[in-house]
């Protein structure tokens, strides 16, 4: 306290200086029309800049909530849109029953854990059996296929990633079903392989690989990836395809669990699910 008093005593002229400068500032910007106009203009600009900065920060901090809202909106759109109107997931609404009631529903989820550097990669989502999620349901990202639900707890589920040696999908390329499995062989992140495509097939680099009708876990036409490489041996009559996954698994933050609402009657008819 004594130090403070001594400091004030020593610098009392500075305090007086600040007070008198404040008086001068008031006189300058209140009684001089030109300076007043400049001050008002400057203050308005400063206020606008501050407001803009505050808005930017607030919007940034609110991005997570906005993402969740957007996910919900996409899910609602999925449920209610017609085939033509729903471009985001392309042909996902082609599977409908005869009464035109959507066969698939989706649940927006967030990825809380994810690996892409192992042989058997999984990711964990923030919804589980409490939200109607069960084993063997398909999971898609905004870009395309992401995986299949492996196990569920009440609030979380683990999902076998497409980057898992144990997962395989049968593809549809250019409208044609192929019954050779697409597999991830741990030869690079986001790189899938498809072997044994006949050279006579009209397949080229850049063609999109989608889900076909030989699975009931995903709607038909969900993007799996894009062909990036075609290799063959001179003596062979088959192609080996390298496919870049549509989903970038290193940036996977949001996804949707696909629920086939009539999985049980369909399963009972076909006997099992792939």
């Amino acid at each position: 306290m004594q130090r403070l008093l001594a400091f004030i005593e020593q610098n009392v002229h500075l305090i007086l200086f600040v007070v008198l400068q404040a008086v001068c500032g008031f006189l300058m910007f209140y009684l001089n029309p030109y300076q007043q106009a400049t001050f008002t203009h400057g203050a308005a600009g400063l206020t606008a800049s501050t407001n803009q900065l505050t808005t930017n920060v607030t919007q940034y901090l609110d991005l997570k909530n906005q993402n969740i809202k957007l996910q919900d909106q996409v899910a609602d759109q999925f449920r209610s849109s017609s085939l033509a109107a729903f471009h985001f997931l392309e042909d996902t609404l082609t599977i409908r029953d005869s009464n035109r009631v959507a066969l698939f529903d989706i649940v927006p989820v967030q990825v809380v854990y994810n690996t892409a550097n192992k042989g058997e990669n999984i990711f964990v989502i923030n919804k589980g059996s409490n939200h109607g999620i069960k084993r063997n349901m398909g999971v898609i990202s905004p870009e395309g296929v992401a995986g299949i639900v492996l196990t569920t707890s009440a609030r979380y589920s683990s999902v076998m990633s497409l980057l898992n040696l144990n997962l395989s999908l049968t593809p549809n390329i250019n409208g044609t079903e192929y019954y050779m499995p697409i597999k991830w062989e741990n030869k690079g992140v986001n790189i899938l392989r498809l072997k044994g495509i006949n050279k006579l097939e009209e397949i080229a680099i850049g063609d999109r690989v989608k889900t076909g009708s030989s699975t009931v876990l995903f709607p038909k036409g969900i993007h799996i990836g894009t062909i990036t490489k075609l290799t063959t041996k001179p003596s062979s009559q088959y192609f080996d395809l390298e496919i870049n996954t549509a989903t970038d698994f290193r940036k996977l933050n949001y996804a949707y669990v696909v629920i086939n609402k009539d999985i049980n009657p369909i399963e009972s008819l076909i006997g099992n699910v792939d």
Binding site: H13, F26, Y34
Partner: protein
């Protein structure tokens, strides 16, 4: 005491009646009244110096209808003067409570501090007066011309005072 008051009145009158009406240019107005602040007695406390700066500034503002502008500049000038004087070896003069002029602190010290203070004052004044629409070339030119004129007049004034005291 009376001599000081008359001296201050004379300088202020000269500033108000003569220098403020020079027709060189609308902007070239040498402010020589600040010599009163530059040469304030060394015995005055810092509080007194700040108060004197504010008072003289307000007085100058009254005559040119620029409320607060000269007062603000005078306050800054006093603060800068305190800083400059702290760097000079004038303990003896302070103890003797002498005025800060050529005779008491020497030509070099006075020239050094008065030049800095005069330039600072004019640059500050013209900046505040044109704030918001400053044309740099015009601003620098008028500030420089006014400062040089003011310094010349102040040095002449100091020479005359020096002769008178001698």
């Amino acid at each position: 005491m009376w001599i000081r008051i008359v001296y201050w009145l004379l300088i202020v009158t000269f500033q108000v009646l003569v220098l403020n009406h020079l027709d060189f240019s609308a902007f070239v107005i040498p402010q020589i009244f600040i010599i009163l602040l530059i040469s304030m007695p060394l015995g005055w406390s810092k509080m007194t110096q700040v108060s004197a700066g504010f008072g003289l500034g307000i007085l100058a503002d009254l005559f040119v209808s620029t409320p607060g502008i000269h007062a603000s500049a005078c306050l800054w000038l006093v603060l800068l003067r305190i800083g400059i004087l702290n760097t000079q070896d004038i303990k003896q003069q302070i103890a003797s409570k002498m005025d800060y002029d050529v005779k008491s602190v020497g030509l070099n010290s006075f020239l050094y501090s008065s030049t800095i203070l005069v330039f600072f004052y004019h640059f500050y004044i013209f900046w505040i007066q044109n704030i918001g629409s400053l044309q740099w070339s015009n601003y620098v030119l008028t500030s420089m011309i006014s400062s040089v004129l003011a310094i010349t007049l102040i040095w002449i004034l100091q020479y005359l005072t020096f002769q008178h005291k001698s």
